[in-house]
């Protein structure tokens, strides 16, 4: 569904993403993991068509990502991005105007589930409320690929459980979900594939369940192994 071919992104003298090649297949939930500055957000923005690779390319169903793929790829940035003059109702109407796969009924249902109301002004939302609103509007699209950058940031435990439910509900055999998070244990319960990035490079791709059965290693153990002090510690 989504294929990254030797993708590199350079900002000045800094290489944010370095020769990343990977293929994301339909029917899976991918956990994109790595510490700050590992290139997760930059790769996602390129896959969403918001940013251009310095070299390499990302293909969606065999075609380079761009204007057309934006109709099928739903991206949620970790930073707030709604226009400040909008209410949550305006946000829904905006998505309805631009995305044919957006469902207003699903959006309203997700807002309700997150204890949000349509009349709330986006500029008055707390960081937790904003995070929930971003997830609600993104998951209300019936996209082929969802990419959620740090979806659990600033969200309390109860809301986090509801969001996890909504993410799992969205998963389907013809869909791809990519989630990035620092909350590695949280990802264990949702994702079935793990992608580890370090300093912009792809370190490892794992099938979480297979890894657990074959090596007894959880995704958190893998994380410690890859990113622990002095470049990783043997934990399993």
């Amino acid at each position: 569904m989504l294929k990254s071919e030797a993708v590199t992104k350079v900002f000045g003298s800094q290489t944010a993403v370095d020769q990343v090649s990977l293929t994301l297949e339909a029917g899976h939930i991918y956990a994109m993991l790595g510490p700050n500055g590992s290139g997760k957000t930059t790769w996602m923005k390129m896959a969403a068509g918001l940013s251009k690779p310095t070299s390499g390319r990302i293909l969606f169903k065999g075609e380079p990502v761009g204007v057309k793929s934006r109709a099928s790829i739903a991206y949620m940035s970790t930073e707030p991005y709604f226009y400040p003059w909008m209410t949550l109702k305006d946000v829904g109407l905006y998505y309805q105007d631009f995305f044919a796969d957006f469902s207003m009924a699903r959006y309203q249902e997700l807002l309700k589930r997150c204890d949000l109301t349509e009349g709330l002004k986006t500029k008055a939302l707390s960081s937790g409320m904003m995070a929930k609103a971003k997830i609600a509007v993104t998951l209300a699209r019936d996209a082929s690929v969802w990419m959620l950058d740090e979806p659990f940031n600033g969200i309390d435990l109860v809301a986090r459980d509801r969001i996890k439910e909504a993410i799992i509900e969205a998963a389907a055999p013809d869909k791809v979900l990519v989630l990035s998070s620092h909350l590695v244990e949280e990802m264990e319960a949702i994702a079935d594939k793990g992608i580890f990035l370090r300093k912009g490079q792809l370190v490892k791709e794992v099938d979480i369940e297979t890894e657990r059965v074959e090596t007894g290693c959880s995704i958190a153990d893998e994380y410690r192994q890859i990113y622990g002090a002095q470049g990783g510690t043997e934990v399993c």
């Binding site: 068509g49 918001l50 251009k52 204007v67 934006r70 109709a71 940035s77 226009y83 105007d97 631009f98």
Partner: protein, 247 residues
């Protein structure tokens, strides 16, 4: 495209509403001072209305440049650039919305100006006398200009087209700054110099292509040249955005 234009308008309508409200306030003050024969205050309200007409039109353009800059350089740009619309459409919607806003504002202030001039001279009964005085003055300056509504309309159109061209040139300079010169030394100065060069080129083309034309057709030609430059700069800006813009 219509949705893009709708949201471009939505982003800027508050400023337009404020300009309209202040103009309404100034107009009421003008009418009161006119019909109560307070000449000093009436002159002040006329000055305020003239400033509002030029300032309002300039502000509409400046806000459009500022919105374009924000859409490229802040996270709110995701809202725009994650929609399945090409840079040509996105930029086109900005140019059309701004062009229409300038046209409506220009027509509004032109009509208001014409109405107020008629009221002033209708009230004092000196309209024809003053027009003849101005025309005589112009004749003495050897300008050969016959001052009338058509001349004012030509000037207004030329001013609006020229300002739209300036706004699109500013878009181009901003896109060059954001896409090609980002992180480079003297980024702002280089893009500013480029903007000045574009303005100089437009002005040079206007002067050299219209120097032998009668003054009545100069305004029309100035407008057409401004619009042609705006169209070229629009294509160049959208091309650069399409190739290089990362939000």
């Amino acid at each position: 495209m219509l949705n893009l234009i709708k949201y471009e308008f939505r982003k800027t309508w508050m400023t337009k509403l404020i300009i309209l409200a202040i103009t309404a306030f100034a107009e009421i003050a003008f009418l009161i001072t006119l019909y109560t024969n307070k000449e000093g205050l009436n002159a002040l309200t006329i000055l305020l209305l003239v400033m509002l007409a030029f300032g309002g039109v300039l502000l509409i353009g400046i806000q459009s440049i500022s919105t374009m800059h924000q859409d490229m350089n802040t996270k709110q740009g995701y809202m725009l650039y994650m929609t399945p619309n090409s840079c040509y459409k996105i930029l086109g919607s900005k140019v059309i919305e701004n062009g229409l806003s300038l046209l409506v504002a220009g027509a509004f202030f032109f009509a208001l100006g014409a109405l107020d001039i008629t009221l002033v001279f209708g009230h004092s009964g000196e309209l024809n006398q003053l027009r003849e005085m101005v025309n005589e003055f112009m004749k003495q300056l050897s300008l050969g200009v016959q001052l009338d509504g058509q001349m004012f309309a030509g000037f207004t159109l030329s001013f609006l087209c020229s300002w739209l061209g300036t706004v699109v040139a500013a878009y181009l300079a901003d896109v060059i700054s954001t896409c090609l010169l980002s992180g480079k030394k003297y980024n702002t100065w280089v893009s500013l110099l480029f903007f000045i060069l574009l303005m100089w080129l437009t002005g040079y083309a206007q002067v050299s292509l219209t120097q032998n034309l009668p003054i009545r057709s100069v305004f029309l030609w100035h407008s057409l040249i401004s619009l042609a430059f705006a169209a070229i700069m629009y294509v160049a800006t959208a091309f650069l955005m399409d190739r290089h813009l990362s939000v």
